[in-house]
Amino acid sequence: MPEPLIAGLPPDCQLSAGFVIRLNALDPTTGVAVTGVEVTEGSLLVTDVHGNIDNLAPDPLLVPSSETV
């Protein structure tokens, strides 16, 4: 059972096209990426500033059965 954790996130941080949201696993001492960590069940909730939702899907995919506008 994965340990449930929470962490902050910069608020109101508007990311333009080409920006990357990266989920990483860093060594606590060196800050270097740790290998062998698998990221599963990843999901994002973002505000689509311009409302052109078609651009967001299918890259990668909308959450199945989720409601969108």
């Binding site: 096209a17 990221v39 506008v69």
Partner: protein, 251 residues
């Protein structure tokens, strides 16, 4: 029109990336993922990074908890979330130190002389140092300083002047580069008559606060007129209670 959109990420090894598509701008509201460290090469900190289209990391948000190699964590990143430390509440009380200083007949320190701190009567929660000058150095922080002075003249002593402009002592923050005097002055109504023939006791209490940087020293000094230590005219008993209570910290 802006809309909130959930996006599923594929399974993959960290670092796992999602690139904002062309002609789109997004504001992340939440990121959630399971970081499975079953095959991790070492302990790790789940982290979200925002990277510009030029490859520059513009934000790096590590989780405050380190996951051991072989462990797993489901982490939710969202604005204003902070780890809940309620399960391990602090058991520490504010640091404080208490001194009781006393003087006998006519040996109260002369005007302009310091009233040196000695061994604390009691203390808690901090490192308190009395240097060779009798100055008190307290840990860095915001301190509430309380002092209470009692001066007692007995019948055998000469009376204190009736109209003494009296500054019992001051407390100064003394550092190598600056000296900030925080005056604790007072003008008590010391009775001149009937005297001698009876005793008179004068109390004064002061409270103030001071920001101490960890090297500043507190000192107490007799800024009174000479009556306090004049032979035959000084108080028979003088006692000072001094309490320093830390009410805040700063970095």
């Amino acid at each position: 029109m802006p809309a909130d959109v959930p996006i599923a990420l594929p399974v993959g090894n960290a670092p796992l990336e999602y690139q904002v598509p062309n002609a789109t701008e997004v504001v992340p509201k939440a990121v959630n993922a399971v970081f499975d460290g079953t095959s991790a090469s070492g302990s790790f900190v789940p982290t979200v990074e925002f990277v510009s289209d030029g490859g520059i990391v513009v934000a790096r948000v590590p989780c405050s908890t380190t996951v051991a190699a072989g462990g797993s964590a489901e982490v939710t990143f969202a604005p204003f979330l902070r780890p809940d430390n309620a399960a391990t509440p602090s058991t520490s009380w504010p640091a404080w130190v208490l001194f009781t200083l006393g003087w006998g007949p006519n040996n109260f320190p002369a005007t302009g002389s310091e009233l040196p701190f000695t061994t604390p009567r009691a203390s808690f929660g901090g490192t308190f140092t009395v240097d060779g000058s009798g100055h008190l150095i307290v840990p860095r922080g915001l301190w509430l300083l309380y002092s209470s002075m009692q001066l007692e003249w007995e019948a055998v002593d000469s009376p204190p002047p009736a109209a003494t402009t009296y500054s019992a002592y001051d407390i100064g923050a003394v550092s190598p580069v600056s000296s900030v005097v925080l005056p604790l002055a007072g003008t008590p109504a010391l009775p001149g008559t009937p005297f001698p023939g009876g005793a008179v006791t004068w109390y004064t209490d002061y409270i103030l606060w001071a920001m101490m940087d960890g090297t500043d020293a507190l000192r107490i000094r007799n800024d009174s007129d000479s009556a306090l230590n004049a032979t035959g005219a000084g108080p028979a008993v003088a006692q000072l209670e001094f309490l320093a209570l830390q009410i805040g910290t700063f970095s």
